[in-house]
Symmetry: C2
Subunit: 144 residues, 2 copies
DNA sequence: TTGTTCTTGATTAACTCAGTCGGCAATGGT
DNA sequence: ACCATTGCCGACTGAGTTAATCAAGAACAA
């Protein structure tokens, strides 16, 4: 039930990029300094976000990173899935990365009690994270 | 955001112990066989649950484990906390194991966006798991 | 062409997860 | 008294993950 440092740093980095959105690009070391993140570690996070299509980047002297989409089109759920994988606590209730539970007496029976509770937990988590956009996040508000 | 095998096995073992509650005691190997759990691994799980005050046990020939409390007094939240630690995705929003976030630009400012979202996630998870009892669990029902 | 910045891949130490093993302690059966 | 059975406890292991760090290369601007 834990969020990795990677995801936490990603969210904090995107916070900076959201406020800079439309105005400037930001460089690794700027983001790292403002959010107290090790630069080289931040680097591979930004790269992952870039490969996932959230960021654009430029090399060289006036280089840096910037958001490629509008902050209200990106949800925290998307971001966390990129870095930490599925939100579901257990594979057999994941919607984005379902995995049949092998070696379980209930197999993939939908009556399985574990599957039932964890399904509601997954829905609760995804319900929040998939409706919470970067725009909400940066402004500190909550949205249904 | 993942549930450990340990917790999953614990829940499945308690499922067996709940149905046996009041009737019989169950031995490691019985639970292990019915739920397809490696016996030696199950052992240390049952021990942890015992130390936490959920189970009683007897050694020797007619030994075994049994629930020490009523199934509707034990919640899944309690069980998971015993084996996996706090439910909160991040230390600074945990209610049972709060930890001030060091090296974060917002420190322990309650305005911290990360703290805000993750707080609602924590509440959602705990809201489900701390109200879901073993009795509910074994009968497959949900309860507010 | 030079210095800046992003890009890629490898490498690392520490830690956690999932499971195993061996020996000890208590209990019941004979 | 002895022995099989069962739980109790601690140590250990191999695989994988986390959180970084490092070195070399490619694009870009001045």
């Amino acid at each position: 039930m834990k969020l990795s440092k990677k995801s936490e740093y990603a969210l904090r980095a995107l916070l900076e990029l959201t406020t800079a959105h439309g105005t400037t690009t930001l460089q690794r070391h700027e983001i790292a300094a403002r959010q107290h993140i090790p630069v080289e570690f931040l680097e591979q996070i930004l790269l992952a976000l870039k490969r996932a299509g959230l960021l654009a980047s430029r090399r060289g002297m006036k280089g840096g990173y910037s958001l490629i989409k509008s902050p209200n089109e990106i949800t925290l759920g998307q971001v966390i899935r990129i870095l930490d994988g599925p939100l579901a606590p257990i594979g057999c209730v994941s919607k984005t990365a379902y995995q049949k539970c092998r070696e379980c007496p209930y197999a993939d029976d939908p009556q399985c009690p574990v599957q039932h509770v964890m399904g509601t937990v997954r829905d609760a988590i995804a319900g929040i994270l998939d409706h919470y956009t970067l725009a909400d996040f940066a402004s500190g508000s909550r949205q249904a």
